[in-house]
Symmetry: C2
Subunit: 312 residues, 2 copies
């Protein structure tokens, strides 16, 4: 299939919004909502780096969209549309491309997001997939990493570490578990929670590289210390059953790909009232000082390596 | 240099707008201009496909920005900001990255465009560079490929085919010429002309894959025929000196990377009055019918291959 056929027959049918102009022009044209700020993010997934070549193409499409929507969720934004840059190799054959676009279509529908445009390039050595997501937020209300203040409580959504176990399963390094594998391959961006945190959270970000390293980034951005109660960090029953030693449990806090929201809020806020049913756990307190501390019986057990950071 | 150091020390200093938030949050936040539509485009440049590994990194940065701004120009839009997805390999060493970011900074300043954010990924087999550009346009005024009507005149800016010769020079297949090489490596998006064409042109697009193939696309989108007078196609003195046979002259009309604007307008419009000093040439007429025709003494001499189209 040529690039033109792929765009005309596989991508254009997904680009149903007026803004996309049927992918027939040089660019998309969109009328932004009145009285809103716009939020923009762009994340890249590379084969062999962010996903495994054997991952189902429909799941890769889901993840490409989901990791970008997670960035919008972290800012409190409502997603509107996306542009996609698909760099493909010979390994992404027609069957791969068909499954990818089918999965992309389902994911766009699931999240209510429009495909506005993008670019497709073939003949690469390995696939590199980029996506720009655009959302809106009330003016001046975007959440930031920099607003955590001493005395705030630290919260996290969902469970921590499942996706890291899912990666191990996908790599054949751990026994199968469909639910854990799904947490790695099909992360669920916390969009509703992000919207609910607008005007409530003092700081927010998504957990993409590991709870501890991301908490450390929030601490740096805010100029405070984040003291996390190790015993309070929420883990799933499946993760708890697999991780019984202290080292295994700590490893859950340095694993990436959770795409949960980490946020701070004044101590008195009733989170149950705004959670909308999303599991929220208070995991610690913001203190004066610097860095992240993982406390067990008053002792900081944070490991030297806080999470996933690519060295080059 | 780690990804974090590269972002903090090389990219963040270029992200000076309020919208970029110092690249310290999960996403950029921007207040769009009141009463404007927004225009979005995303183009990918891959090493070895869209540029040569030996091209100067600062020129690659320029081209990455320029080809996207050319899409905005084709819609009549004014550029505002960009997000960048940098997929890098070991070949893009620290010296490459320093030259790339220096060139990017100069290009952003030259075009008056803000760097809002993006993503950097290292460890790839070969570089893949994506960029999303955002601009504004008066509501409902975006130019399209689909508006050409029988009786309209066909116009093109600048000269056609210089960049194709520049590519041959860059590949070592032709004798050096700095001006032609620059046309390949540092295309000049026709932003001022694009703005001037708003409300004037009936159809517009940029010439990226070759005059004939892009004219054919405009003909298809508009449901008309584009009859191009071969003798009228503007070529530079340098190109004319190199291309003396008919085949060589025709090849200029199928070469890519010109990034000139191809547009149609009612026959009576005084283009000199709105050109703002940009060289504009009337190269033919829109007719009822279909496809592109390259006419010499009334004979259609259009070759079978109209331009650059990647087969996979």
């Amino acid at each position: 299939m040529t690039e033109r056929d792929f765009i005309a027959h596989a991508l254009a049918p997904l680009a149903t919004s007026v803004a996309a102009r049927g992918l027939a022009d040089d660019a998309a044209v969109w009328t932004p909502p009145l009285g809103r700020d716009l939020v923009f993010t762009h994340d890249v997934l590379a084969a062999g780096v962010h996903y495994l070549p054997g991952d189902p193409p429909s799941d890769i499409a889901w993840k490409l969209l989901a990791v970008n929507l997670s960035d919008l969720a972290a800012m409190g934004a409502m997603p509107c549309g996306v542009l996609m840059g698909l760099g493909l190799s010979a390994a992404e054959d027609n069957a791969w491309r068909a499954d990818f676009t089918a999965g992309l279509g389902r994911a766009l529908t699931h999240f209510g997001v429009a495909l506005w445009g993008g670019d497709t390039v073939t003949g690469l050595a390995a696939a590199v997939l980029g996506l720009t997501a655009v959302g809106w937020i009330e003016p001046g209300k975007a959440l930031a990493r920099s607003g955590a203040r001493p005395g705030d409580a630290i919260w996290v959504s969902g469970n921590i570490g499942d996706a890291g176990l899912g990666l191990a399963i996908a790599m054949g390094n751990a026994s199968p578990d469909a639910a854990l594998l799904k947490r790695f391959r099909r992360p669920d961006p916390r969009l509703a929670l992000g919207r609910a945190l607008v005007g409530v959270a003092t700081a927010a970000m998504d957990v993409s590289d590991g709870l501890l390293i991301d908490a450390d980034r929030m601490a740096r951005a805010s100029g405070v210390a984040l003291a996390i109660d190790f015993a309070a960090v929420p883990v799933s029953a499946a993760a708890a059953a697999r991780c019984v030693t202290l080292a295994q449990r700590v490893a859950l806090t340095t694993a990436g790909d959770d795409y949960e929201l980490l946020f701070t809020a004044p101590a008195g806020v009733d989170m149950a009232a705004i959670s909308g049913g999303t599991k929220l756990t208070k995991i610690g307190s913001v203190l004066a000082g610097a860095g992240v501390h993982l406390l067990q019986n008053g002792v900081d057990i944070a490991p030297e390596r806080l999470g996933w950071e690519h060295q080059d």
